[in-house]
């Protein structure tokens, strides 16, 4: 597995740009998700008003997280569940391990959870003799291939069916070698068969949560496969792992957010399974877990409260920003070297791992603004990326050459006479260079980043300002 760190963004991006399989997958994804979201939004006249509501609800919650978390805990306990608090990934892992040990768990099934990735729970459980099995089909595929997810909603988007067949043949012991796995239907059946056994055998089921509802002490998961439901219903223990920012006050708040979630993520009006879980088995229930645990993770989130980045905690993990980002669409998720790729990752990752480690991420953006345009809770992502750039600048983390180039330009621009003089010189000199090349410059020292791939259109020769002075005398306004 390649080095997985935001520090390696540039190198990983280069590799991604040269990978034809990945590029093909990214192209398909782009078309698919973008078009489907557009038509889902078109089908619902209230969509934009719902996004405003969603933003307002999350914004309100983020301003009162402590109070709503308290209420949530109280409700969970009232229903016989247990709430655990984890300051960081290490604590969260230990808590989960201890719960698993309580029942002597050997295998654990997992629904899709970004927070689970964030705390790297799988390798930790394995190291402690417990076998975690991802049940979301995409996550399962990349688990077999031992790679990280490349997209929040579609983690195996970079894998083609031949690669999936290889992974199954390698890992499914019960799979007869003569069984054909050439078409997608066969692959799905094989995955269903193999995972069905795991579902039934699991001692503990771990899911994430899209929402934590304070009113009722419930957790809500949203899936299309039904794997989250099998994960949480069949085993003896259900553990929910979620970030503290996932809490919402009431079921009304949750349903308002549910209305924008699937539409933004995949363009579906509603995901196939939206499941509200409240505590463990009740008296008389024929199925369900005996114990219900919620592990609430901080891991840097509380530090954002009161900071200029607070708004990023509104995120409901739909992935729309990734789907619409031209940079993500060019390099895919792995290049970011973070659990959270794409525009949301550019803002979150420095908060979670530090700006020194992640400084390429907020810089690798053209600020085109499409992410903010499609975000269901209207997070101003480009502005937040710019805040990271400001911190980077004042902390002098960016290369000196870049900082000095900007300062020099700004200095010159503060002195109009100097500026205009310099501009005239540059315009003339570049024009002369360009004339030799028929109007374009093919290579420019100090401009190699440009001219490696593009010609540089030469200026017309004189600046506008110098010509306007002369022309104005002869100009008559109507």
């Amino acid at each position: 597995m390649n080095a997985f760190s935001p520090r390696d963004f540039k190198a990983n991006a280069l590799r991604a740009l040269a990978d034809p399989d990945l590029q093909r997958a990214l192209g398909n994804m782009r078309q698919g998700f973008i078009e489907r979201r557009r038509s889902a939004a078109a089908r619902l006249p209230e969509f934009d008003a719902l996004r405003d509501k969603a933003r307002d609800i999350k914004q309100h919650v983020i301003g009162h997280l402590d109070l709503y978390l308290e209420a949530f805990e109280k409700s969970v306990v009232a229903n016989g569940g247990t709430v655990h608090w984890a300051k960081d990934g290490t604590q969260a892992r230990d808590i989960i391990l201890n719960i698993c040990r309580l029942v002597g768990a050997e295998t654990v099934t997992k629904g899709k959870s970004m927070v689970g990735e964030e705390i790297a729970i799988n390798p930790f459980l394995e190291a402690n003799g417990i076998r975690p099995v991802e049940t979301d089909l995409g996550e399962y595929i990349i688990q077999l291939r031992d790679e990280p997810p490349s997209h929040i909603i579609a983690p195996a988007i970079h894998v083609n069916k031949e690669q999936i067949a290889d992974a199954f043949r390698k890992h499914h012991r019960d799979l007869a070698p003569e069984r054909p796995l050439t078409d997608r239907g066969a692959l799905l059946s094989e995955a269903r068969r193999a995972l069905r056994e795991r579902f039934l055998a699991a001692d503990v089921g771990i899911t994430g949560a899209n929402f934590l509802v304070a009113e009722t002490g419930s957790t809500i998961i949203v899936t299309n496969e039904g794997n989250g439901d099998l994960t949480q219903t069949l085993p003896r223990i259900h553990i929910v792992i979620a970030g503290i920012e996932k809490v919402v006050p009431t079921l009304d708040d949750a349903m308002a957010l549910v209305r924008v979630l699937a539409r933004s993520a995949t363009g579906q009006d509603m995901s196939v399974y939206t499941t509200i879980s409240t505590g463990g088995k009740r008296e008389g229930d024929l199925d369900g877990p005996e114990q219900f645990h919620v592990v609430l993770l901080d891991n840097g989130r509380s530090a954002l409260i009161g900071s200029e980045f607070q708004e990023v905690l509104r995120c409901i993990r739909c992935g729309a920003c990734l789907n619409h980002c031209p940079v993500y669409g060019s390099v895919g998720g792995h290049a970011y070297g973070s659990v959270y790729p794409g525009p949301i990752g550019k803002v979150l990752t420095p908060a979670l791992v530090g700006l020194g480690e992640a400084r390429d991420l907020p810089n690798a953006s053209t600020f085109c603004g499409r992410c903010e345009e499609v975000c269901p809770v209207r997070i101003p992502l480009p502005k937040l990326m710019r805040y990271w750039r400001e911190r980077e600048y004042t902390q002098k983390l960016s290369p000196p050459r870049t900082r000095w180039a900007i300062r020099l330009w700004a200095f010159g621009a503060r002195l109009p006479a100097l500026y205009h003089f310099g501009a005239r010189l540059a315009a003339f000199w570049l024009y002369r260079r360009g004339k030799k090349g028929g109007g374009r410059i093919a290579s420019l020292r100090l401009g190699e980043g440009w001219t490696r791939f593009r010609d540089f259109p030469a200026p017309q020769g004189k600046t506008f300002q110098s010509q306007w002075r002369g022309a104005r005398r002869h100009r008559a306004a109507p």
Partner: protein, 233 residues
């Protein structure tokens, strides 16, 4: 040494410095006590029963469920048998032990073998009755309970859901309203262990972005709407 909980709350409170504490608490208490939907889209407000059922059917079918309609509960076993035959499925099903379903008199249809209980791994067909149907997106709402095991909705490959027509509501919140308590009542046992909102059969597009049905949950979801039952919900 302070616990993780203490540390987290201290960090949050520090971030909220300048917030007026009691005003905030009053605000959040008020919000928690509120029981009203935020913004219900027009499509969740059908004009009448007829429009509601038509829209429900259309949306459910768009989500790849199939929908049949019968007038009375007595016709349900026949509708089930028809569906199983049409899809070459065995005439055998596990059924939720919900007394409501007894009105169908399953024993009269000898060719259809029905067992009451929770779903086991070998069950291919499951039959249950819906708590509500939601017009907004053609969604079925199922509750867990002594008579309604959750596994019925997920283990068998084919799920058949009986939906009395008078249990069809417009918006999601309407399906939840009877289950919720007030803020004074607190959270204890207001909701059942699980409330499932189900819209169509299970699916995945994780294999090359190509949509396929039957990922882990049912491959087929068949909804039988029953007209004339006054049901105590």
């Amino acid at each position: 040494m302070s616990s993780a909980r203490d540390t987290i709350f201290a960090a949050l409170k520090a971030g909220y410095r300048g917030r007026h504490e009691s005003a905030a608490t009053v605000g959040t208490d008020a919000h928690l006590a509120r029981r009203a939907p935020h913004l219900v889209p027009a499509r969740a407000k059908p004009e009448n029963r007829k429009a509601a059922l038509a829209q429900f059917t259309a949306m459910a079918e768009e989500a790849s469920a199939t929908v049949a309609r019968v007038h009375t509960m007595i016709e349900v076993p026949g509708a089930v048998a028809d569906f199983l035959r049409a899809h070459n499925l065995p005439m055998r099903a596990v059924m939720a032990p919900d007394p409501f379903l007894d009105a169908a008199h399953w024993e009269r249809r000898r060719t259809l073998e029905v067992r009451k209980g929770r779903a086991e791994p070998f069950d291919e067909v499951g039959i249950s009755v819906a708590w509500r149907g939601v017009v907004e997106t053609g969604t079925i709402v199922m509750l867990s309970g002594a008579n309604t095991p959750t596994t019925l909705n997920f283990l068998p490959e084919t799920e058949i859901v009986v939906l009395p027509a008078d249990r069809v509501v417009g918006a999601y919140e309407e399906a939840l309203a009877p289950l919720r308590g007030t803020a004074e009542e607190g959270a204890k046992h207001t909701l059942p262990r699980v409330v499932n909102f189900i819209t169509g059969p299970s699916r995945s597009a994780d294999i090359e972005q190509h949509l396929q049905l039957g990922a882990h949950g049912p491959r087929r979801l068949h909804i039988i709407i029953v007209d004339d039952q006054a049901t105590p919900a």
